[in-house]
């Protein structure tokens, strides 16, 4: 290691994540000319995101705990390959203050908030206190004092004060885990016990708090960027009301049907909170918008959101690049504040789940993956044909994002893009999303967080036109004979799929 060296080390970004978000981050790294390291578990060794990086660093193991959640292994991989920055994506270690500290202790840059930011917002009960301190409206709730873990008796008594229906939530919560809705008092003991078990298993922390549940409410969130020095800006809001199991499925920017007054008040509240905690990086403040049009603080996510592309589409900027600019101290918030939103964007999350059976995960090998490439369509995908969907991780495969001059155009583009996309081998949320986007309640914006549960459950795919069904099957068998799959894979010159069905070479057709 002799010779002249520049004063600053050449930046090398370790992406501590997998799937579509790892690819998303790596894409921006490439455009910024940054060297990259992909860490991966054994089961992900051949995943597309690994191929997108300059260096692949195996972590070993398959479970999250022995791979993407193992901070020691990730730091070791960074040392071995000369990392100077770490981007955590979302989920996994993205909101883990100890991990952010460990990265900084190496002298590397953590592409995200400060450990203190993560701590003040990561504990949901502390976040509510911060929100109140910033003058942000919160929901009527029972929040135990810091470090306190009230028993069943206390929680049941406090539930009467909060009022029913109410939401039981995990203090360390996120991703819908440790969350229960209680409608009647006698349900409380069972639901509290279940929420506690789930929170303990998911976060290693069974502390709970209670929040009044607002029926028919929408979920609207504000995208923030903070410079870490006390200044922050809002980059529009997103409506994420369409959820199943408290997890988002469709998101859009801007939120439809919001009055300018409410919109501005929401943005101002989110910025006030971010400035109060001297927030650094990209973050999101989530609100519940009740039927009266009043909004209430829900939580703050101290990371990039899954649904960040709809904001990017409408504001015409790269939020990951903005994260790097904040880390480098080169962000100009005033310049970004002047950006004006244009048009409308909608995202569908494509999960490997079966909407016809209550969104049960559907695992297997993807026999085909292809997406629309129509104008106004963006695809953020973590999979390709031949990928397997492992049981170990979140079943998000891809995101389809449509931009349009108007909301109507965005809807039509997204519906058309879904029809032009094909994933075979597992069940997905594609057709469900297309159905939902075409419904009257979505077109008029008459949706809330329980719309899917209330109006689309149970669900089954639209039936195939009987005139075509057998024809398609016949054509399929004919054309697929001799291709992958045990049935047609006979020796060369072997029997075709059926003795009297001739094997024409499809390449010569048309």
């Amino acid at each position: 290691m002799t010779g002249k060296r520049s004063s600053a080390p050449r930046p090398v970004v370790l992406v501590a994540n997998r799937g579509e978000i790892a690819r998303r981050v790596l894409r921006t790294c490439r455009t910024l000319g940054l060297q990259t390291i992909a860490v991966h578990s054994d089961v992900d060794a051949r995943a597309p995101f690994v191929a997108d990086a300059d260096v692949a660093a195996p972590l070993g193991g398959d479970s999250p705990a022995e791979s993407y959640l193992d901070a020691r292994k990730i730091i070791a991989a960074g040392r071995a390959h000369g990392a100077t920055m770490v981007h955590p994506g979302y989920g996994f270690l993205s909101e883990n203050a100890d991990f952010a500290r460990a990265v900084e202790a190496e002298g590397w840059i953590f592409i995200g908030p400060t450990p203190e930011n993560i701590e003040s917002m990561g504990d949901k009960t502390r976040a509510i206190e911060e929100a109140r301190g910033a003058g942000v409206p919160t929901i009527r709730s029972y929040v135990p004092a810091p470090g306190e873990d009230p028993d069943l008796e206390t929680l049941t008594a406090e539930a009467r004060t909060v009022g029913l229906p109410l939401m039981i939530k995990a203090a360390a919560g996120g991703g819908g885990k440790g969350m229960r809705i209680a409608h009647r008092e006698e349900e409380l003991p069972e639901l509290i016990a279940a929420a506690r078990r789930e929170a303990q298993a998911a976060f290693g922390d069974g502390r709970l708090f209670l929040e009044r549940y607002l029926v028919g409410a929408r979920h609207v969130e504000v995208q923030l960027l903070g410079d870490g020095a006390g200044a922050a800006i809002a980059l529009g809001e997103r409506d994420c009301s369409l959820q199943r199991r408290h997890q988002k499925l469709i998101e859009e920017c801007p939120a439809p049907g919001l009055s300018e007054k409410t919109r501005r008040a929401m943005h101002e509240a989110a910025v006030a909170l971010a400035e109060r905690v001297r927030y650094r990086g990209a973050g999101t403040v989530e609100f519940i918008l009740d039927r009266e049009g009043d909004f209430h603080f829900l939580e703050m996510n101290t990371r990039l959101q899954v649904e960040h592309p709809v904001t990017e589409a409408v504001f015409g900027l790269d939020l990951v690049a903005a994260q790097f600019a904040i880390a480098a101290g080169t962000i100009d918030l005033d310049e970004l504040r002047a950006l004006s939103p244009r048009g409308h964007a909608i995202e569908l999350r494509v999960y490997a789940e079966d909407p016809a059976s209550g969104f049960l995960p559907s695992i297997g090998r993807l026999e085909a993956v292809c997406f629309s490439d129509a104008p106004g369509i963006r695809i953020d995908s973590g999979v390709i044909t031949g990928s397997t969907v492992p049981i170990e991780y979140d079943p998000l495969l891809a995101k389809l994002i449509a931009w349009g001059e108007s909301r109507e155009q965005a809807i039509e583009r997204l519906r058309a893009a879904i029809a032009d996309s094909f994933i075979a081998g597992v069940e997905t949320t594609l057709a469900f999303g297309r159905d939902l986007l075409g419904r009257e309640e979505f077109r008029t914006g008459d949706v809330c967080t329980t719309t899917i549960a209330d109006r689309m459950t149970p669900w089954s795919p639209p039936p195939v036109d009987a005139q075509w069904h057998e024809t398609i099957i016949a054509a399929g068998r004919h054309l697929l004979a001799g291709r992958r799959g045990g049935r047609g894979d006979g020796p060369p010159g072997g029997e075709p799929a059926s003795p009297s069905e001739s094997l024409v070479d499809w390449r010569h057709l048309g």
Partner: protein, 154 residues
Amino acid sequence: MTERVHVDRDGTIHVPGLPPARILSFTPPLLVLEREGRIRKVFLAPGDRGGWFGLDGQSFPIPSTSGPAAAGVGSAEPLAGDLTAPMPGRVLEVLVAVGDGVVAGTRLLILEAMKMETPIRAPAAGTVRVIHVAMGDAVDPGQVLIEIDGAESS
């Protein structure tokens, strides 16, 4: 030729009771079909059990033609002459009885899966020996539905 679904050398698809359809093109995975001037675009992909077709974002299984002519080599394959369910579903209708003579293409029963009705047809000529399912039964993929005698691979 018996009345059954078949595809000619030139890509014409014959389905009993329907005008012929044509395969206009197949640039995997996109398949373009035409019947009486109407175009139908679907996606097509091979799979372990037959394959898949895709329509409006939904993928549907293409059940493999079970039975002697199409049975694979794997040891897990059912015996020749056994007709198995290609996918999870429900028996909508049983169209034959034990002792019935069948020819290749005879509709034996109708399975309903994912709101679609899929006819299960005899792969070759033979006699229905055993019927393992009845109307309304739920079936799992690979479950034996019907056994046919005289349909052993020749």
